[in-house]
Symmetry: C2
Subunit: 127 residues, 2 copies
């Protein structure tokens, strides 16, 4: 939370917001709809296996290419594509080169889901 | 509903889906996350004033430029920008030239909200 507008009623330019992100794997909230949030995150390299027991999670790739490893095999998501990870399904995001993503999910969802570790980012950080 | 995959677990390419839309003002569902849906719609010209009493509604502009008239004045949303119309707020989308939008909102939301008329599109139409 950095004094950014929260809630609804303002236009969010994704590129402008992304230009202010200089860390990987730290989702930043840019808008909220009811009890769901839109979060921007830059990723690079490998993440940790995790799942979200209570909710689906949407990945929308803005720039770059993201691979999401699932226990049944990987899916590749490119810019302009979205993928909904089903509730309870283990997944591990990966990007060979830096990629920019918008996550859409309920408020309160942690980036590492059921896996709390050094990769767990602070939640509800507005940009 | 045209035999398209419903639910979760598949990659959705927005441009590919948009290429299959040849009508204006008819939202088509392309993915679902919990009880929320992602809908693509092409718009051109003027719509009707309406509101959604029970929910916020997210507009993400993919191509073109959209003006959303609000009783307090218009907002302009360009490609790569999103705007959340607050619950209960009257709004009227407008596009001078054809624009492509992704709507994100709970299942069951009608395009004309509280205003049922000839512009009301069939709900839950998957592409």
């Amino acid at each position: 939370m950095e004094g950014a507008p929260q809630g609804t009623g303002y236009v969010v330019n994704l590129d402008e917001k992304l230009g202010r992100i200089d860390e990987h794997w730290k989702p930043r909230v840019v808008a909220q709809m009811n009890d769901y949030q839109f979060k921007l995150v830059k990723i690079c390299g490998d993440f940790v296996w995790h799942s979200h027991a209570d909710t689906d999670e949407t990945f929308f790739v803005i720039d770059g290419e993201v691979r999401i490893d699932l226990r049944g095999g990987p899916v590749v998501i490119r810019a302009g594509e979205l993928f909904v990870v089903p509730k309870g399904v283990e997944h591990k995001p990966y990007a060979e080169h830096e990629a920019s993503i918008m996550l859409i999910e309920p408020c309160g969802v942690l980036n590492t889901g059921d896996a709390r570790n050094e990769r767990t980012a602070q939640n509800d950080m507005w940009l």
